[in-house]
């Protein structure tokens, strides 16, 4: 049986792992390589590295840390941030990443998704979506440039429409980050994830809101997501991964021990 995945997310800024609350006020958590190694050893199923500076400030970012991670860990990992072209993606994959995740550049130029799919195969192409529930309109709306508060902006896309579109273009996996829940540890946005799940025929990863072990059980059981991504609960040691996995096994979920 295919196991549900537990995915620590490491936000990277200038080669360090950082974590903010609702995308703001980033604090340094530690160096990338020892953290990545520790998570692999604790039983993480996959790791995601988001270079949160890359898309928003437009500079060329040093990605040599990708190679250093590939050297030490023996589980899959995905790199996100600032990948604007097939060449950018090729470089990251050559350095040893298994997948690349694209967010703002895909919104700016959706055909990038097809180009990536043709060059590297669908399985390499992850689309990150930052979705915010606008209470005034009652709509889920896609945002971009969320790595930098001063540049974060609403796009013309409703989340559900964008989810459908990226699949048509060749996305192999979708990471849905529910911005209202991000960093506040009140649980995943089950309502939104259930809605998206119905239209998502590729693997769907929940992101934003994990605060307790029960939240993981809920998101797997109620929203049928393939993986659950979290950051602060892992970085701060609130939820140790081995305990989380034992808890989920007790809840009859298919989990790699």
């Amino acid at each position: 049986m295919l196991a549900r995945r537990i995915i620590p997310c490491l936000d990277v800024r200038d080669g360090k792992v950082v974590k903010g609350v609702q995308f703001r006020n980033h604090e340094v958590i530690g160096d990338i390589v020892p953290l990545a190694k520790a998570y692999a050893e604790q039983g993480a199923d996959e790791l995601v590295f988001y270079d949160i500076t890359a898309s928003s400030d437009g500079r060329v970012v040093d990605k040599s840390w990708v190679r250093r991670i590939a050297e030490v860990i023996d589980i899959p990992f995905c790199v996100a941030g600032g990948i604007k072209s097939v060449a950018d993606a090729g470089l990251i994959l050559e350095m040893g990443a298994d997948k690349i995740s694209v967010n703002s550049p895909a919104l700016a130029r959706p055909e990038l998704i097809s180009e990536l799919e043709h060059s590297f195969g669908q399985q390499c192409v992850v689309i990150g979506i930052d979705s915010f529930f606008d209470q005034a309109t009652g709509q889920y709306q896609v945002y971009q440039f969320t790595g930098d508060e001063s540049r974060t902006q609403k796009t013309r896309w409703h989340t559900l429409d964008w989810v459908k579109r990226v699949q048509e273009l060749g996305a192999g996996e979708i990471v849905l980050n529910c911005m209202n829940q991000d960093g506040v540890r009140q649980g995943y946005d089950l309502t939104q994830l259930q809605l998206i799940r119905k239209e998502c025929k590729v693997p769907l990863i929940a992101s934003g809101g994990a605060g307790a072990m029960q939240h993981f059980a809920d998101v797997f059981q109620q929203a049928d997501v393939d993986g659950a991504l979290a950051a602060s609960v892992f970085h701060k040691g609130i939820i140790p991964i081995p305990e989380l996995k034992a808890f989920l096994v007790e809840h009859k979920l298919e989990i790699r021990p």
Binding site: L2, E71, I75, D98, K99, H118, S119, V202, P203
Partner: protein
């Protein structure tokens, strides 16, 4: 022992190279015919699409060399699929080293790609196969693919997703893994180690 990772122009060469480094083996990455012919073991990596990968092999003039290789050879993921007769992905003839047809997975309502950790079921007949030494029933390994080879008498281990498919195949010293041993933790490392010790 000289291990050569055949440079197929595909993207996961570094991760395979690093996996062997963790096992203490400094692999060569090469598309040079002489280097490949002189290797004691060959590894065919692969991420991408079959048609493109076969075109890359053609362009590097590697097809005949790989077809005539006498040393143990392990194909990983797309690299495994390239060892078979034909792939539906781009409708392309492959190397024809292990009988089999690569077809898009039929998974019903399940999601594709088949992405994540899934369990191996070692075939009864392959319990003592040297490539699977120390690898047991229900060990989890990491898969990322949408195409697969149906189980046959060259299947050493199966996996189930929607239906059964070949997770590990072998014929003589030609071997293949549909999953990514370089990304499958201790179980994957064990398979790579077994390959390094493989004597046909």
């Amino acid at each position: 022992m000289s291990l050569v990772i055949v440079d197929t122009g595909c993207a996961n060469i570094s991760s395979v190279y690093c996996a062997f480094q963790r096992l203490g083996v400094d692999a060569k990455v090469s598309s040079d015919l002489t280097v490949i012919k002189n290797a004691s073991r060959l590894l065919v990596p692969g991420v991408g699409a079959a048609r493109q990968a076969m075109a890359n092999l053609q362009q590097r003039d590697l097809i005949a060399t790989l077809q005539q290789a006498e040393q143990p050879l392990l194909g990983i993921c797309l690299g495994m699929q390239l060892l078979t007769d034909h792939s539906e992905e781009g409708d392309v003839d492959c190397l024809g080293l292990i009988p089999g047809q690569v077809k898009r997975m039929q998974v019903g309502d399940l999601r594709l790609p088949h992405m994540g950790w899934n369990t191996l079921q070692v075939q009864e007949s392959a319990q003592h196969h040297p490539l699977l030494k120390g690898i047991g029933a229900n060990d989890y390994v990491y898969f990322v693919h949408s195409f697969a080879v149906a189980p046959s008498d060259t299947t050493l281990a199966r996996c189930h997703y929607g239906s059964d498919f070949a997770a590990v195949i072998g014929k003589g010293n030609k071997l293949g893994a549909q999953f990514h041993p370089e990304r499958s933790g201790a179980v994957g490392a064990r398979l790579l180690q077994n390959f390094l010790a493989f004597n046909g």
